[in-house]
């Protein structure tokens, strides 16, 4: 058993799909935002795998550089999303009405 680029791409595909699952499954937008770093970790793994197994002499670390950009973009999106989404939640309440809130509205 040895690690190949195909194996790394399999793992990264699973991580990206798990991130998409988190974004699709959660109803709360702030909870769904957690899919972004998971998918980014998968995309970064694919880039690092290419840098490890498929790079050329010209720029062997380009894949690692792409992974750095993906991870930084994910961090920026999460911080921005928490800032905007959290402020909205503070001002107008949760985006998804909880069962207790629905009961209050009915009364």
């Amino acid at each position: 058993m040895t690690v190949t680029l195909v194996g790394i791409l399999f793992v990264s595909a699973a991580l990206v799909a798990t991130g998409v699952l988190a974004a699709a499954w959660r109803r709360d937008p702030l909870a769904a935002l957690a899919g972004v770093p998971v998918a980014a970790a998968g995309a970064a793994l694919a880039s690092v795998g290419v840098a490890r197994f498929g790079s050329s002499l010209r720029e062997p670390a380009s894949g690692q550089e792409a992974a750095v950009f993906v991870l930084l973009a994910a961090l920026g999106i999460v911080v921005l999303g928490v800032a905007v989404g959290g402020t909205r939640r503070d001002l107008v309440g949760p985006a998804v009405p909880t069962p207790a809130a629905r009961g209050r509205r009915r009364r």
Partner: protein, 169 residues
């Protein structure tokens, strides 16, 4: 790669996948924080096994920061209601995406490169600096601008929250 390194890589990848599934499915609070920790350790370890020390350290910092931001239970939050039909279709679409990506990885023609980034050092900070600050400086500045904007927005939100909590009711 030798067998021991390969086993280590797949164990760390399994750890990261378990963490990712926990993030997707577990409720907010301690279970989700533990899932973020698993994802951070697994992903950073996998990068380190692939001789990308710089990316491993960055991933550890980024994923732990995301966990600190996203895992805590917001005050007054209750149990999240179950997803409807649209969410179930979204989950099926995620499974379809995995099948598509796995098929592409299996069937694609991949050439083995002559050189590996790991041949030039584990941390390879000099090469990363040359790429980030030299060849792709504009992209680095764009990423820095995004982070600055995010930090300003976060600071504004924190300042508003601090002001509201100190105002007399």
């Amino acid at each position: 790669m030798d067998v021991l390194t390969s086993v280590l890589f797949y164990a760390l990848a399994a750890l990261a996948l378990i963490g990712g599934l926990g993030i997707a499915l577990l409720p907010n609070g301690s279970p989700r924080a533990l899932s973020f920790l698993l994802l951070a350790v697994g992903a950073a370890g996998a990068y380190a096994v692939l001789a990308a020390g710089f990316v491993a350290v960055l991933a550890l910092v980024v994923l732990l920061a995301c966990g600190l931001l996203l895992a805590p239970q917001p005050p007054g939050a209750e149990v999240e209601p179950r997803g409807g039909l649209g969410h179930q279709l979204g989950a099926l679409a995620a499974a379809g995406l995995f099948a598509l990506l796995a098929y592409a990885a299996y069937r694609a023609g991949l050439f083995k490169g002559t050189y590996s980034a790991g041949d030039f050092g584990f941390f390879n900070a000099a090469a990363m600096g040359q790429l980030l600050l030299g060849r792709d400086a504009l992209a680095t500045e764009a990423a820095g601008a995004l982070l600055l904007l995010a930090l300003v927005a976060g600071g504004v939100r924190w300042a508003g929250w601090a002001r509201r909590t100190r105002l007399p009711r």
